[in-house]
Symmetry: C2
Subunit: 343 residues, 2 copies
Amino acid sequence: MRQTPFLPKRPLKVAVLGSSGAVGSELLKILEERDFPISELRLLSSERSEGKKVKWKGEELLTKNTTDKEFFNIDLVLASAGGSISRKWLSTIKDQNAVLIDNSSAFRLDNDVPLVVPEVNSGDALKHNGVIANPNCTTILLTLVLSPLNNISTIKRVIISTYQSVSGAGQLAMEELKLLTERYLKGDPQNSQVLPYSLAFNLFLHNSPMLSNNYCEEEMKMVNETRKILNMPDLKVSSTCVRVPVLRAHSESINIEFEGIVQPKDALEKLSQSAGIEIIEDYENNRFPMPNDVMGRDNVAVGRLRADISHPNGLELWLCGDQIRKGAALNAVQIAELLIPDK
Amino acid sequence: MRQTPFLPKRPLKVAVLGSSGAVGSELLKILEERDFPISELRLLSSERSEGKKVKWKGEELLTKNTTDKEFFNIDLVLASAGGSISRKWLSTIKDQNAVLIDNSSAFRLDNDVPLVVPEVNSGDALKHNGVIANPNCTTILLTLVLSPLNNISTIKRVIISTYQSVSGAGQLAMEELKLLTERYLKGDPQNSQVLPYSLAFNLFLHNSPMLSNNYCEEEMKMVNETRKILNMPDLKVSSTCVRVPVLRAHSESINIEFEGIVQPKDALEKLSQSAGIEIIEDYENNRFPMPNDVMGRDNVAVGRLRADISHPNGLELWLCGDQIRKGAALNAVQIAELLIPDK
């Protein structure tokens, strides 16, 4: 059992598990950009990706096959290699008294695992037992906006339709979108290998496994994780998740019903004062957030707030956020920063 | 004043106004495919597009500049050249005792102009006074689905997020999307000329003019036209319209609240028996409608019906429809067919 939720007060031994993927690469970039206190960085991958050279802070590092000994004396593990890999190494990581910040959905709904968006529920991070879960990308963007608005008036119901970039399906899916689009433009046949169907000038409902209520896993992640992060277990949420031919930023069309009336101008003011959010809203020039605005950026762009004409207590709004950054890697590093003593 | 709502009982003199655009070209194709009874077809265009050669039923026709004399003795005008052109020629057309079926939004909400989706409110077509309006593309697709469901239980509220193809912005916008995508893939700069921003691997909220309630024109078309077509002037509708990098099929994520509980299986059965609708719904194989399924097709594809977990009387569903066909040209020709006596 850990004595303290905090990491040791010294430069840390950090392992990135899944370091060669889209999120893994971004994790390395963000650790460097934010000057995270690291004494030793270990890049772990599958056997297949072993030996890849990676530049980090001017040094050349090599990715290594993940084995027990790579976790020896480790302080912090940032994992984005999928749920089964995280499960596999959990006890090894715990044996080292290290903290695992996990980007998979493996532990997100476990009672003793905090699910954290630092701008929303940073306090939860300190209640961990060796594992903190990084929420699903769409959920991170959504809760960033819902949390401040919930302080104006309690949220009763949220209906979301997503416009999710292909980066959520990984690096290979991004490459496939570009390849199949090129083929489409040349009139060549479209054989998708990574995604179930070609996304070239096409879109489809999220292809995660269907659950018994006929929502897919991705949609129920939004429902359940939003409830946990906001600590609103009975919040009514419905979501339709759609994969669109965009490379790395998600968008969401969000309809919110509050207990009381919320004026769009009050909501706008509240959001403009909230961390992690940038307002892009210019009704005169018809200028609102687009995926292109947020690619490679930390902040989630929000705009198009308007009173819902179909409900007196309703508000419609729109957001875009970089799926790899705030939707995954940045949020994980921000969680780790919460565990640095006296920071 | 017309003696009868019907067209004369003989092969007709038909003019297509705006014959060189995306919808105009499709109109010609559909008139040929459906063997619409035509004795003479006049292709009218702007002066700029005059003299374009068009193959129709094996003959070569020439587009002509639109002048008064081109309407002489005409029986039927199918217009898709924009509202100002339709307004300009309205009295000329009426003077010929002809019928105008207009694809623009110019007359759609006029009291003496029926707004018709043949599968939904064919009876309204016969109440015309020389002009029948063809609804907005997204509205046609939406009402096709709402109308049968409203017969199971009265609809109280509808919340829609659209995924609209670029064809709705015309032929040039379609070409621009392909061009800018090619440039993106080559790493060349993106200068959009037709649309306000590049749609290459990007998307943006619909750029139609903003109204005083901060909904855009396109969104309020969905609200007002749906109410008129369904003859439900107080129906609560809210819509968020989004342009996505898809070429010619629109998708819609639709959340419906009914007076009572509607079982998804009953809704599915009702829709599967409804004209103009095709069900694509295979939960086991995660297969639902995609734009690629409906390109060039007449039917609107519907699927992913499920009980809304956020509301006891709610239903979530998803549709895709060809914007140029059922969303515009096909619907206009179907309206014209309603006016053919003894058909």
